[in-house]
Symmetry: C2
Subunit: 455 residues, 2 copies
């Protein structure tokens, strides 16, 4: 157990924007503690994306359940000199007591569809905005990228090699987690392997080869410790490296158990082709060829289209940072207060008010259209938002093992219309409709607000 | 204090790629524990970047100093079934005992210049690769983006609003830290404020206004709690919002202490201009205008070129993810083992071998060129790499308070040739030369390796 004054900034109640705390104090001072409903959704698909795979819910629910202000944190807030003593006293006993509905991790979603819906006294629902967005955003960016890479690999293994280039330790862990969720075979990150019980993979680095007198010495030494390993063949000259592996097989005979070689530079298609030929001719048809080196879904597609005989991919930087679309415009908006629907009027950022539900129509094994409806409406189709927390306690049904979530993600990708797996944006995206009742509520509230503005 | 079995994945010795551990075991098994030198550098500036501001060293040194394998971590490794008992026993007493040289945080660096140089027994130096790269990469990506945004703000305040869109909690904290390092006024992230002693800033959100019966009620309630606040004016109609602030000033008289308004949508130049005029006409010339809403260095440059009377900027997503250049090709390469220079031959990724030093020539208050030299060479100019850790212990000189590092970063930006502050890549970048001695060593080793390849 942690002492109550250990400051863990990654899970602290202080992991929030300052304005959440000032608004909280104001709400309490005004006695505004009625139920508010906030919804988290994105408005526009990022560049090159036809769908988003959501993730991050498990982390969010754990956070909400354990959210506390520690004494040392309150002391620090007091020292900042801008908070009232009454407010700080309120925070001492703070607990998140709200209800949460959400779409399960691994679910595919589209523009304007609520992914997480929080109903709680408004100061509570306001406080958690920053953390909830931070985690759903990161993990959905990463899961979506991974889903694209896994799809492009056409059944071949994808392993997350991205930890060195991900944006920090949390991103490295979550990229490992969501890559696995989206169908990757595993990760190179050992801490993620332990934390999430994900298979871990590793080969060898150029430095290991370079530290030895020559490449053969390195291969021999490494296979003595790890007979079933992968040997990296491109430190000096890729094809000579492959020939050296073959020579090692000849020398070791039945003791040769090396499973694969890894190519990490040069023309991967050509090198894979010649390496495959060399291995096959040497009677090493069972050996696999793995590739890495600046890969992403675009390059995987090219390699496989060119017929490169590659059996598995280590994907690093691009999986880690999602370079072509590193962010999604997720926001967390007040949609109701005291059961009255709310909306923002200015600019073009108008969104339907009130709590919502999304119904998905599945026909012939494919998702065909979604309808965003008012909470309480019953339409045909599958309801995407499910209860996951009540009165601040996770529901048992929300504790979905990662392997189960991974099956769900796989199933979602199978339900996805094939044209939406295109790497670039398709002209006509997935149809998302607004129910008649929700359209009517939106129209009415807009009129009311415009009327008020004229007064 | 944490119990010795608390698993903190963010600072765990398991935060590493699996191959670092397998290579370690092989090194130990072979008795290869001689000193290795690894250097961390980038090969190519990312798109739109003419310089990189390095950061992350402080975190790296703390990590190295505290690196331990906990019993529960070793038990978990044992369960994976691929490590030898001898190796696991070695890890029980593992300590990082190496020496580190590095460029101070906030220093501007260019292609191929070593940023961190680690000299340690090779198993130790190998293990730490993943974490060292992860932190220097993230923090340098973020510091460089922040330096660009701060430069574009031309002396106006920049505040980090990015926590909701940064890639996870670690990135949020480090983006806050490096934004401040690079000259931002502070952050909205309260945990970062506490962790790094950075000024924290906050205004109010649309949800607060929407939860109230009308905008005026929200303004009044919020200023009662926080008289010197910033009021967000664009929830319904920006200019009506501004007029409401003016009306509040009239009603409160001398009790009106509101410091600023925030614009968060629409045509910011035009809205700022009219808002400024309205405030000035109302005798509120002392009030500031802050802006946010999808800002980055490109938009700041446009706004200020158009003469927008904006006094400060809240910058979110783009500061958080560095969307136009979310990664830098930092790598960590073996350059010497047992005092013998090492290099990789294959492909185009050739780098000069051996430990290095970088000398920077400064003339007339500007950096004019750098020379990458061999360790031990003494050339004219300022030596960038400084000793920061000896035998696994941080040197006192390496404990640089963030405010000092911020001054150094400011100084570096002043030394930078003005043309390199361009937002796009300039044709002729900063000159980085290789010393004659290093060129000769590189030529010799290349010959030796090519000779060996022919054998």
């Amino acid at each position: 157990m942690l002492s109550s004054n250990h400051f863990d900034p990654h899970h602290s109640a202080l992991f929030t924007d300052l304005y959440e705390l000032t608004m909280m104090q104001a709400y309490y001072a005004e006695g505004m503690t009625a139920q508010a409903a906030f919804e988290l959704f994105f408005r526009k698909l990022p560049k090159n994306r036809n769908y988003i795979m959501t993730a991050g819910l498990n982390e969010v629910l754990d956070y909400l359940e354990n959210l506390r202000f520690m004494d040392a944190e309150l002391d620090w807030l007091r020292q900042q000199g801008q908070f009232s003593e009454a407010f700080l006293q309120t925070l001492r006993d703070f607990r998140f007591t709200g209800d949460v509905h959400a779409v399960p991790e691994g679910t595919i979603v589209f523009e304007n569809e609520p992914v997480v819906q929080i109903v709680a006294p408004i100061p509570q629902a306001q406080l958690v905005e920053t953390y909830v967005l931070n985690q759903i955003h990161l993990q959905s960016v990463a899961a979506t990228k991974a889903a694209r890479v896994v799809t492009a690999a056409q059944g071949r293994n994808v392993v997350d090699f991205g930890s060195r280039r991900s944006h920090g330790t949390d991103a490295a862990l979550k990229v490992a987690r969501t890559s696995y969720l989206a169908g990757a075979a595993g990760t190179s990150n050992v801490a993620a392997g332990r934390l999430y019980d994900i298979p871990i993979f590793g080969t060898m680095a150029h430095s290991y080869v370079q530290a030895h007198p020559d490449e053969m010495a390195a291969f021999k030494a490494f296979t003595r410790e790890f007979p079933e390993t992968t040997l990296l063949v491109d430190t000096y000259d890729t094809l000579k490296g492959v020939r050296r592996v073959i020579e090692l097989a000849r020398q070791l005979g039945d003791d040769f158990k090396v499973k694969s070689i890894r190519l990490d530079s040069g023309d991967l298609t050509e090198l894979a082709r010649v390496s495959r030929q060399l291995l096959d001719e040497a009677g090493l048809a069972q050996m696999k060829i793995l590739a890495s080196s600046g890969l992403d879904e675009y390059k995987l597609t090219e390699l496989l289209a060119a017929g490169a005989p590659i059996d598995g991919f280590g994907v690093g930087t691009e999986l880690a940072v999602s370079g072509d679309a590193p962010d999604i415009d997720f926001s967390y908006k007040l949609v109701a207060y005291e059961d009255q629907p709310r909306m923002k009027l200015s600019s073009k950022k108008m969104n339907p008010p009130g709590r919502k539900q999304v119904f998905r129509i599945i026909e012939d094994g494919q998702m065909t259209r979604d309808v965003i409806a008012q909470h309480g409406e019953t339409l045909s189709g599958e309801a995407l938002l499910q209860p996951v927390m009540r009165n601040g306690q996770r529901l048992d049904s929300s504790r979905i093992p990662l392997t189960k979530a991974r099956e769900h993600a796989q199933n979602q990708l199978e339900l996805l219309p094939p044209k939406l797996t295109a790497l670039e944006r398709v002209e006509e995206g997935y149809p998302v409709e607004i129910s008649a009742a929700l359209q009517e509520t939106t129209r009415q509230l807009q009129q009311e607000l415009e009327q008020k503005m004229r007064e």
